[in-house]
Symmetry: D2
Subunit: 141 residues, 4 copies
């Protein structure tokens, strides 16, 4: 058994790049975010916009994001990103992302997200709630 | 009498620029949008987030946006943007934006926005409603 | 004979959308820009990053961009964009973009771009030069 | 003696926010990047675009970026960001960023950047070089 991995390819666009001709750092966090949603769609069989309603949560808000930039990604490069849940904790989980270009690892990322419902004591706040076991199982293959 | 003008200055950031070293076109539409909100705040004395509630509208959605790029804006340039409502129509209005760098016009922009409420026949849709005369007057000085 | 059309599909991502739950306007100009590059790649058989070198130009800078927003694009929608050169002039051309969602036209866009070389009188400036007839022919099918 | 701190205030714009009405995570990395440039301008008395030429480097590329999201930043909030070099190593350094809203810490960020020159063995690559002592001193007050 291992982790379910979601992979996609995308081109590095002109508008992703900065005056050094390489992807501006904030863009990688956009790539991570969208892959996290797609990983959840693949695992749970639910379109991203339906995720909250289906599982009785408000969403999966991000509480920590990180990237290590190992090699630059340049205009016109073809990038491959693979994403998996590296670890489930009680009410949060860590998504790992790897972006490769031409078969070489270019960026490593991680996101910590919370399985979040409205806080019953304060409805404008969110609160982590336990992640159901059947959710976690769907991320294993 | 003339139009109320909202002016602000901002720096051209590294992350605004593309591999040609100049501002990527989509960023100008971010600059226009935010200046439109600030113009409304100045004219109506209401913070952007309160605009809808105060005037019984859902918002001022954009239906047309345009920019003409006359001179490039480069990393580290200091830009000045001035914005005004150029024309009010019954339920829509046109905001004109001018961005200058070093005193020279670099970009001209225009946005057409609608004074919009929920459509009573279909609550998930928006519908333009007449702009109150007292709103229009606040954009004249 | 008609215009060569470049089509692609893409998902509306969480990060594309604003607090109204619809795509923030500047994002459409990113979608247009990348489709313009891909249209050129399809027509000319040259990857975007090679375009300038292959044809002796510096690039195809944008001098005018416009969008009309007809229907909102929402998180998770599947968008289809089709792009074509609507008109070639001596040293500039107009690209038309249509974005549909669920078969309905959501956004119409146009970009005016220049076939640009360095200005021989001022190497830091760009100057439109005549578009070769063989380039124009490649955009007809 | 302590670290030189660069502070600036900025508004949370409509276009910064996602369908949850809070700042989309990638935007914070834009805020961090620009504050890093401005901190360097304040410390070294050199405009960002001149930094490389003045100090014989190609730039200060990012090799690691991280953010912890403690409280959401919402449309129309006034954010204050303070930035400082937390640690200098031989050829790299760590910039710490703190973003507060209404006096409460909302986001903590850190960036690791390299003091980088062209690699003499491979001119298309960058290589960290020792940070001059007189540069480091300028970040202490």
């Amino acid at each position: 058994m291992g982790n379910l991995v979601y992979r996609r390819q995308f081109a590095i666009e002109w508008g992703h790049c900065d005056p050094a001709g390489i992807v501006f750092n904030s863009r990688f966090f956009e790539f991570f975010d969208w892959s996290a949603w797609l990983l959840f769609e693949k695992a749970l069989g639910v379109r991203p916009a339906e995720l909250g309603r289906t599982f009785g949560i408000v969403g999966i808000p991000l509480v920590d994001a990180r990237a290590r930039f190992l090699k630059p990604a340049k205009f016109n490069d073809l990038a491959e990103i693979s994403s998996e849940v590296h670890e489930f904790r009680r009410s949060s989980f860590e998504v790992k992302h790897h972006i490769s270009i031409g078969g070489e690892l270019a960026v490593e990322g991680s996101e910590t997200r919370v399985w979040a419902a409205q806080d019953p004591d304060n409805p404008v706040k969110l609160k982590g709630i336990p992640i159901p076991a059947e959710v976690m199982e769907r991320f294993r293959v």
